[in-house]
Symmetry: C2
Subunit: 411 residues, 2 copies
């Protein structure tokens, strides 16, 4: 039964009906006025940050990777909860600058930053994470032109790789960052220019559920940062990356955050604080902060039986939630957790059926639930897809087949 | 060498520089004013329609599946060349209705059509292709409410399957269409209502490069249509589907259109015309009409060497051309044809290097060319990705990471 997935329980229910931010789903749908829509639960985001604050060492600064969910309401909410915002484009930069988070607490990373984007970042006064010597040259030029002293960090492609990540972004050859062994030369180049070099960012991979692996990566990251720090007079910024995963599928075990916290305490207290007393030590989290706080809510438009298989055709689909269709970087397609909105607590055997949930797009790729057990749903019932808070709408081909864009609400 | 791909040769070149619609790429980029952009070659689309007209029997009516590329300029251009437009949403319907193509020559197919969409379609006077009994009920209700007699066809899920399609959309259980064996009952239901039932649409799969397979599917489709036609007094519409593929990869052999034309001639002349003299026989093509007529043009933002591997980082990426990154329904990632814009005719060995072309998104998924041989390209050079005319921008997560939308031009 999909109803046992922990993400379903986290939202809660009222008389068997899913609630989001305490509002029963049917009422929320009426408030939104149309389906499909994304709903993000404000209190779940808040509780996730609280959990991190309780579990991680006090000195850890939490950054939110805006790319995970850039809607302004969510970014504004997180601005009040976390210590920093991390952006990956000029578009995300604009959203971050609209929050109360000061520019000095916004960092800008990502390969292929253009001269124009870097000029915007320098003018904004944010921390630019350099991915290459070319970017360093561009930042220096922008600073000279604007009469501003840019503040930069070096994003480092580590000399180790992290196993078990959903996506590996460090180790071996990479488009991300500057190879660790090339960093001293880049620092020499920067020392001759009018820039403040704050420190280093090492990001090794994302969507990792293995606390041991993350812990080992953090240890290796600290080693690397301490080695590189010998080439800088004063380090004020260390970004240890993040990559904390969330459980999407029944066999996924949630991350053991306690273990990660213990390793980080050891790294921060025993190693980074003595060696780099002025450094703000950042973790950068996106999916882990918001991924489990979002649902994608669709309505059943048609119910049909084709050669023994029952289909629920909903008014949403892969154009809004591509990852749930298994077409966003996944090698093997697996079902995201699904539920019928007004019957999430049906745990029993009555009236449960095997159905295939498909979106409204005219393509066989638009598959949201392949042969899943759900309480019987009829036309006009709401079908909910969980784990939709990160890399949902913005990671989806919204214009595909010309359907309207969905609403997004923070509740 | 990627420069040998036939799609590159089709565009032509001037002094080694790719041309689109006869305009050298550098000049076109200056005209567009920014990169990245999509450029579609008007004459290549025209020539593709001419090829089909020459090769297919005269009685075949050509329909354009707007979903393949819905930008108004392309749809307007094709409106003047083909006989019909096929849409898959109310959004695409609006684009089609803006063309000179009369509503009677517009068809609307796709699962999960809502009551509101069907009401729009009935009011517009287009042909509604019914995917289920539910849709039939909705169309009848819309007709009664609007005082209009809807014109419908039944989309049939065939009782055969087509092998070798990129995507199978017929045979076995499907969300698409009405199972062939259920069609007589649906026709009985419709006979009692005030609707005109024009005929049938059978669509078995897409992106098929096997002419023999397509021919066999067309034969089976004709058999099925003739069986089902016994339940209708008069058939005025037969849509045989399409699914003609285009070659994306070096080992792909272009479709043998001549063979398909011969089979269609036999089907139309020997079978459909005698039995259904009033029927307009349609083929519905999307990708085959426009897919090879488009390029995605990016500019090199950074060039870096990481541990022995040379990366070209371009200002575009998977947010605009998801399929080229291998993340849109593909099981195995393969490189789309790529070229350096001003050196497409470099066929030799001088100054060719192995590079990895990546987009500007901060994710390892954003891979456009994995270890490809290209003439040396530097920062500010243009890198072109071919086969971008269909399922390109609209099938991509444009908002992902907050970069600007690209321009699209028809040249």
């Amino acid at each position: 039964m999909t109803t046992t997935h922990p993400s379903v329980a986290a939202f809660g229910a009222s008389a068997g009906e899913l609630t989001v931010g305490g509002v029963p789903l049917g009422r929320l749908a009426a408030r939104v006025g149309s389906t499909p829509f994304f709903a993000y639960d404000r209190s779940l985001i808040t509780r996730r940050v609280e959990l991190l604050r309780r579990t991680l060492p006090e000195r850890i600064q939490l950054g939110y990777a805006v790319k995970a969910n850039p809607i302004p309401a969510v970014v504004q909410h997180l601005s009040g909860l976390v210590d920093a915002l991390d952006v990956a484009s000029a578009g995300e930069l604009a959203i971050a600058l609209d929050t109360p988070t000061p520019p000095t607490r916004i960092s800008f990373a990502g390969p292929g930053k253009t001269a124009a984007e870097l000029r915007q970042a320098v003018a904004a006064g944010v921390l630019v994470e350099l991915e290459s010597a070319t970017e360093a040259t561009r930042v220096v030029a922008a600073g000279e032109e604007l009469g501003l002293r840019p503040r930069v960090a070096v994003r480092v492609n580590p000399d180790f790789a992290v196993k078990g990540s959903g996506m590996r972004m460090g180790g071996g050859p990479q488009q991300f960052g500057v190879d660790a062994e090339q960093v001293p030369d880049l620092l020499d180049q920067l020392a001759a220019a009018d820039v403040e070099v704050a420190g280093f960012h090492v990001f090794a991979g994302s969507q990792n559920l293995g606390a041991e692996i993350i812990g080992q990566a953090q240890r290796s990251t600290a080693d690397l940062v301490l080695r590189l720090a010998e080439h800088l007079d004063r380090v004020t910024y260390v970004n240890l990356g993040g990559g904390f995963g969330i459980p999407y599928f029944p066999k996924d075990t949630p991350l053991d955050l306690g273990h990660v916290g213990e390793v980080l305490a050891e790294i921060v207290v025993d190693r980074l604080t003595p060696a780099l007393p002025d450094a703000a030590v950042h973790l950068e989290l996106g999916r882990y902060l918001v991924g489990e706080a979002g649902v994608y809510v669709t309505r059943v438009v048609d119910r049909k039986v084709s050669r023994g298989r029952t289909y629920l055709v909903v008014d949403g689909g892969m154009h809004h939630q591509l990852a749930a269709s298994g077409n966003f970087g996944q090698v093997i397609r697996r079902n995201y957790p699904l539920a019928v909105g007004h019957r999430v607590l049906d745990g029993g055997n009555d009236d449960v059926e095997q159905v295939t949930v498909v979106g409204c797009l005219c393509t066989p790729l638009d598959l949201l639930g392949d042969d899943v057990a759900l309480p019987r749903a009829d036309i006009d019932d709401l079908v909910v897809i969980f784990q939709a808070g990160a890399y949902g709408l913005t990671a989806s081909p919204t214009a595909f087949l010309g359907h309207p864009a969905p609403a997004e609400v923070l509740v």
